[in-house]
Amino acid sequence: MVVKKGILNKLYIVVVLMALSFIVVVFKIFNLQYIEGDKYRKLSLEKTHRNDTIFANRGNVYAADGNLLATSMSKFNIRMDVMAVKSSVFERDIKALSNELSKMFKKPSSYFQKKLRDARKRKNRYLLIARNVGYNDYAKMKTFPIFKLGVFRGGFIAEQKTVRVHPIGKIAERTVGYDNHRGGAGIEGAFAEYMQGENGRRLKQKIAKGQWKPINDVNEKEPIDGRDVITTIDVNIQDITHHALLKQLEYFDADHGCAVVMEVETGEVKAISNLGRTKNGKYYEKRNYAVWESHEPGSTFKLASLMVALEDKKVDTSLVVDCGKGKIFVNNKKVEDSKRGGYGKISLARVFEVSSNVGIVKVIQKHYDKSPKKFTDKINSFGLGEMTGVKIKGEGKPFIRDPKDKSWSPISLEWMAWGYGVSLTPLQQLTFYNAVANNGTVVKPRFVKELRVGNKVEKSFDKIVLKEKIASQTTINKVRKIMENVVKRGTAKNIYSPNFSMAGKTGTAKKWIPKHKDENGKTVYGHYSSKYYTSSFAGFFPAKEPKYSCIVVIHKPKKEKGYYGATVAAPVFKEIAQKIYTSTPVDNQSISEEKEFASINKSYENYYTKLRKYKTIMPKVTGMVAMDAISLLENMGLKVKFSGSGKVVEQSIEKGNKVKKGATVYLKLS
């Protein structure tokens, strides 16, 4: 019985153990099903369902004529898993692959061979072959030896990413701008919220092949695509502007410069180029100088001074001004003319033409020294002290000193007359010159024409008038004529052309060097440099009924090579004006005395109807003139062989027969 008891005991133990494990299992099931059930149900849903964001397409940026300026595109990073390739294949094809790579990337074939072999030695499974490869190149690379074997046998890894590309390249890059981790710049930055669109949301369920199928969901949201921005930029004018500016910058080794072309009547900016120098002497669109850089304009400001004096009827353009020997002192500060020995007694109009500093300072001093506020008030009434309010971020602040300012000194008025002590951005200066070209109406500079979704225009931007009339028509006409003479016989006569008219003003301003310590630690007080200049030219063309206004500002040209506005900046203006002039056709109407000839008309009608009617059936061409018959038959796709000249007498294929393209027909002419 002891033995049986032992077995029974063991049996009991087994039963107890089994019961225990059974309880544990039941408990665990209970746990999983009810207590932690929700958690696992959620997990399973997550594996099969997810809330998917449907990314909205970012809008594109277009030029005024429809050319694409910025768009999102797939770019590929090509990498290679060198180890995935079998040794035999590798050895056999590595030379061919390196040859193809060297053709595509312009590096010697040996460079690629070495690179691939080294990678194989180091067992590199992720070797970088090329970055930012465009689609066409990517498609080509897929057919290269070894690569064409695919991912697993050729080790071809292509990583796709969406980048913003500029088809036009570096031209106007800063103005087209960007909107990413660096912030927002240019048009992309200013119109970011229009161009972004809104992402949509959809609930999706997992199905085969890694695909997700959308399910009906109350929370679903359709994505709203970003708007396309149509800018005012004209690609061809922009092209010329960019290259003309670049040429001058490179020749004069300048630090940076900008050029802006505006349509007079509408204020649309047709071209804007900003180029800054890098350490190795190359230029690129570094900062939007035209919009942002507020600087002392120098002589281009004299237009404003002259207009103030003329509008207040204090002077007339025929007033004789004694510029003496070209040197005067105002409060012990020297005002000098660029011509040695001075200009003597000249008219006020001539003062402007030759840009005599002495002349303009004397005139302004005489009439406004006792009442400087009258001068500054009038300047402000031209809109010069105000921002233009362009949509592009970062517009520079203009500065016109007020007589009530603490910084107003006894020479502030005189210095303002020839463009120092005031600060304007090139765009603000251009807006002013544009107003003069536009008969006194100040229009706001605009970069964007309309916003579109697909082909539908969503929002249109029209011209905005900032000021109706800043000066009387007489003053405007007078100063426009004087500016035309600046180019004809004044400081800018080097750009004069008999073929087309231009008008404008040169500017050569010394740069202000603020107080600083030089290399030896000595304090250098603030002064006007005799080495660094800002050369500019602002104007419009044609001189009568101006269509476009343009400003060119170049900073720090190499003094030895030249620094006058006429030599450095004006040539850019001329090249732009010339280009626009030669691309605008001139209307010429000629009235012909010829009579209509009924027989010519009839034979043309005959030809034309035959052309439209016969596509595959041979027409009757006998009796037709050779040139009509030949062009008719060749349009149908036949090869025509003929002998003789004149009218068609015989045709080798009878009328009414069906003809195939490429068939030959013989015509006999007499």
Partner: protein, 71 residues
């Protein structure tokens, strides 16, 4: 019921494939468009034809309108 679910799945796969094709074609379009745009620019054309002796015109083209007197 099963058929419709399968059909829906097939549609999803087809949409995905078409989307892929669309992105591919678009990339090809923009890529070729970029090359074309660069070639179209007047400055590049000026450079190319300079060797052949062509220079930009100094005078603009003239539009000639002919009016014919009808009898």
């Amino acid at each position: 019921m099963i058929t419709s679910a399968h059909r829906a799945d097939q549609k999803v796969l087809k949409i995905a494939e078409l989307n892929r094709l669309k992105r591919q074609l678009r990339a090809e379009f923009v890529d070729t468009g970029t090359t074309l745009m660069r070639m179209k620019l007047e400055s590049s054309i000026r450079d190319k034809v300079k060797t052949k002796g062509l220079n930009p015109s100094k005078t603009p083209p003239q539009k000639i309108k002919v009016t014919v007197k009808k009898d």
